[in-house]
C-alpha cells in the first residue's frame, strides 16, 4: 500500500510541477539590408524567453534599446526615429509550439510556432516553423520569420527608402535552461 501511495504521489508530483525552460540572454537578430548599401542589421543578445514544456506555451520579451548595431548613429536613428524606443521600450511575443512534446523531441524537432508579436504597441499574428533540440540540460530553439515596417506602422522617410529592405528578416536563436 505504501508503495502504491508513493507511486501515486510521484506521478502526481511530476504532472503538477510543470517544467519551465528559460533564458535571459537569447539572441534575436534582424536584417533589413539592401545590396550595395550599408548593411542594416542588429543583434539583441538580452532576450528573455520562457517555455512551458508541458503545454508548449512560449513567451519572449526584449528591450528595443538592447539591439546592438555596428554603427552608433544607426542605433540612435533606430531607437529615436523608427522604433520610438523610449515610448515603446519592449517587443513581446506570446505563442505556442503546436503539439510540443519534450519526451519525443529526439524524433520530432520541427514544430509550428504560432503567436502574437507586439512591437510599438501593435500586434501581428506570426506563424512559422521552429526547430528544437535537446542536449542534456539545454534546449536550443531556432526560428526565422519576416515582417515589414508597414506591419508596425513604421514610417521610412523617402530619402532612405531605397536603403532599407521592404522585408525585415528576423532570426531567433535561444539556448534555454531548466528553471529551478
Amino acid at each position: 500500500m505504501k508503495k502504491i501511495l508513493f507511486l501515486l504521489l510521484l506521478i502526481y508530483g511530476t504532472s503538477c510541477f510543470s517544467q519551465k525552460y528559460f533564458t535571459r540572454t537569447g539572441a534575436t537578430d534582424f536584417k533589413a539590408s539592401v545590396d550595395f548599401f550599408e548593411p542594416i542589421e542588429a543583434k539583441n543578445k538580452s532576450t528573455t524567453v520562457l517555455l512551458k514544456t508541458s503545454t508548449g506555451e512560449i513567451v519572449a520579451q526584449l528591450f528595443m534599446t538592447a539591439f546592438q548595431f555596428k554603427i552608433g548613429l544607426m542605433q540612435e536613428h533606430f531607437n529615436e526615429n523608427y522604433m520610438e524606443s523610449y515610448t515603446y521600450p519592449k517587443a513581446t511575443f506570446k505563442g505556442k509550439l503546436v503539439d510540443f512534446n519534450l519526451s519525443t523531441i529526439d524524433k520530432k524537432s520541427n514544430y509550428t510556432l504560432k503567436g502574437i508579436l507586439t512591437i510599438r504597441g501593435i500586434s501581428k499574428e506570426i506563424t512559422t516553423t521552429a526547430s528544437l533540440k535537446k542536449d542534456k540540460k539545454q534546449l536550443t530553439f531556432k526560428a526565422n520569420f519576416s515582417v515589414t515596417p508597414k506591419d508596425f506602422e513604421i514610417e521610412i522617410p523617402a530619402i532612405v527608402r531605397k536603403k532599407i529592405a521592404k522585408k525585415v528578416d528576423i532570426s531567433l536563436d535561444y539556448v534555454l535552461e531548466k528553471k529551478v
Binding site: F22, R24, T25, E38, K45, S46, T48, L50, V59, Q61, F63, T65, A66, Q68, F69, K70, I71, G72, L73, Q75, S85, Y86, P89, K90, E177
Partner: protein, 104 residues
C-alpha cells in the same frame, strides 16, 4: 562611421547600492531606460552570461568579462546599462556590465 560609445567611457548617471537603485526604480520607473549606473551589491546567483545582485537585478556581463571572476554571496561593484524591468522574470535587467576593481 563610428561604433556606439563603449560602456567604459560613458558617464555614470547613478552610483549607489543595488538596493538603493531598486528603491529609486520603484518610486519612478520612467527615467531609467538606457541609463549608466554603478552599483554595489551582494551576488545572489551566477549564470552562464551574467550575475544577479540582491535577488532582483540581473546583470548581463559585457562579452569579454568572465563569470569565473565573481563569487556567490560576496560584495561586488559593477558598471552597466539599465535596459529595463523584465516582467516575465520580474527583475531589473542590465547589460554591458563590467566589474569595478576595487569594490568601492
Amino acid at each position: 562611421m563610428k561604433a556606439p560609445e563603449k560602456i567604459e567611457t560613458k558617464a555614470v548617471f547613478f552610483s549607489s547600492s543595488a538596493k538603493d537603485l531598486l528603491f529609486n526604480f520603484q518610486k519612478n520607473d520612467t527615467v531609467w531606460s538606457s541609463k549608466i549606473v554603478q552599483l554595489k551589491g551582494v551576488i545572489t546567483a551566477i549564470g552562464s552570461k551574467g550575475i544577479t545582485l540582491e535577488n532582483q537585478i540581473y546583470c548581463q556581463l559585457k562579452e569579454e568579462q568572465d563569470v569565473a571572476n565573481f563569487k556567490l554571496n560576496t560584495l561586488v561593484s559593477l558598471k552597466g546599462r539599465i535596459i529595463g524591468y523584465d516582467d516575465v522574470l520580474e527583475e531589473l535587467k542590465l547589460d554591458q556590465c563590467i566589474k569595478i576593481i576595487p569594490t568601492l
